[in-house]
Symmetry: C2
Subunit: 246 residues, 2 copies
């Protein structure tokens, strides 16, 4: 079977996540969406509205991974500097995109058109637009970098619109087994089980639920038959340990 | 007045955030906690359970910022590789910490003690322990790197315990003004207002609430009198524009 791995990074731009003012939800949405596409989210960074930090992150992540998704900083205000940073990262000019311009002019009443709003039609030269069905002002794609809004509802609509254009690898499937068993009891046999399934990633995540400590074991693989075999082995292991400790 | 800026980064280690399986809440908790301490959270990274990625992130972030907080990967299972990575990042050995060992031996019944559990008493040489009032197994600090658990309840207890030992700068205070005014109408005068308050960071965050689009303006500064003046000017601006657009 093929073994094509496609990777991605997410760059969240904006002070509001760093200050704790806003609870991020974009990470989980994009993470789950990429899993379905067979794209492995391999790194996330959150940086403030600071030019050097943004440019540095864009250039590192776009060269290291197959896709880079950015969110935030493409609105009309002074703190929206993502487009300026993306263009500097690529060494290209910013130019008004005629389609974006037409979309915005059609959206606003003539008396509501102003230069700040029209700034949202400016994109790095060479970009293609990403549709914004919520509030019109588009995102854009330049090479492997996809630039989206930060407001979750808009970001989600943009992401759903571009999904069809992304090339995924073999989809990674997962199986979860939850048990009220302490991680520390499972750890040794689980490590051996992991060794015997090198093509399956086995993660162990402790949790508290209703005052009890338990463990969620997650097996992930792009090979369905190996995944099934590993999940079966985990089930057997957990059942055995559960029987011993009760 | 002094103008001491103290910075921090957060490194979240673990596949469960990247896969979208788990909704992160640690970022917001730490972000808010650091604001109260006068520490500026300047970057967040999320990396998978992959040694090179973890070591690279630790070394970059610990040299770039005053503090680095890590979460995740210090449990007993095979996918808990944070301690091995921290020790490699610092070029020191891992050794069993006698206090941590005693704590764990006191916690478990003799028949429940096993090598995987005792691995949680291993720390990079030169570390001091971070108390874990929830499930005993400690975190640790080495130089400016503070290594905490990933489970939110445990991480929060660890963070609360070490807060008193962190040296903050001038606390950054903020004032928020929310209004059902579109960002695009505010953008130009707001940009000018930002120019006239260089010591105040003014952020503009669009939101959807009850089907209406509005904007939350947040002013942040370590200078209380300048913050007050900027917030007053923002209030006046918003009131004026609200009056015009209604």
């Amino acid at each position: 079977m093929s073994n094509k791995i496609v990777t991605a990074a997410v760059l969240i731009i904006g002070n509001e996540i760093l200050s704790g003012r806003t609870q991020d939800t974009n990470i989980q949405f994009i993470g789950q969406g990429l899993v379905q596409l067979g794209i492995r989210l391999s790194e996330i960074r959150v940086v403030p509205d600071v030019e050097d930090a943004i440019i540095d992150a864009i250039n590192t992540l776009r060269s290291r991974f197959d896709y880079l998704f950015t969110t935030g900083g493409i609105g009309p205000t002074h703190d929206d500097i993502t487009t300026a940073c993306v263009s500097k990262a690529f060494g290209v000019d910013v130019a008004r995109h005629p389609v974006a311009e037409a979309l915005l002019l059609a959206r606003y009443k003539p008396e509501d058109v102003n230069e700040s709003r029209m700034k949202m039609a400016d994109v790095p030269v060479g970009s293609t637009l990403i549709d914004n069905p919520i509030s019109v002002a588009p995102g854009y794609r330049i090479e492997n970098v996809l630039v989206m809004a930060g407001v979750p509802r808009i970001m989600q609509a943009m992401f759903d619109g571009i999904k069809g254009n992304l090339k995924g690898g073999d989809p990674v499937r997962s199986k979860s087994i939850e048990a009220y068993v302490h991680e520390g009891v499972l750890a040794e046999p689980l490590g051996k089980l992991q060794d015997s399934f090198p093509d399956v990633d086995i993660g162990s995540y402790p949790f508290f639920k209703d005052g009890h400590l338990g463990t969620c074991l997650v097996a992930r693989s792009s090979d369905p038959s190996k995944l099934k075999a590993a999940a079966k082995a985990i089930n057997t292991l957990v059942g055995k340990i559960y029987a011993i400790s009760n």
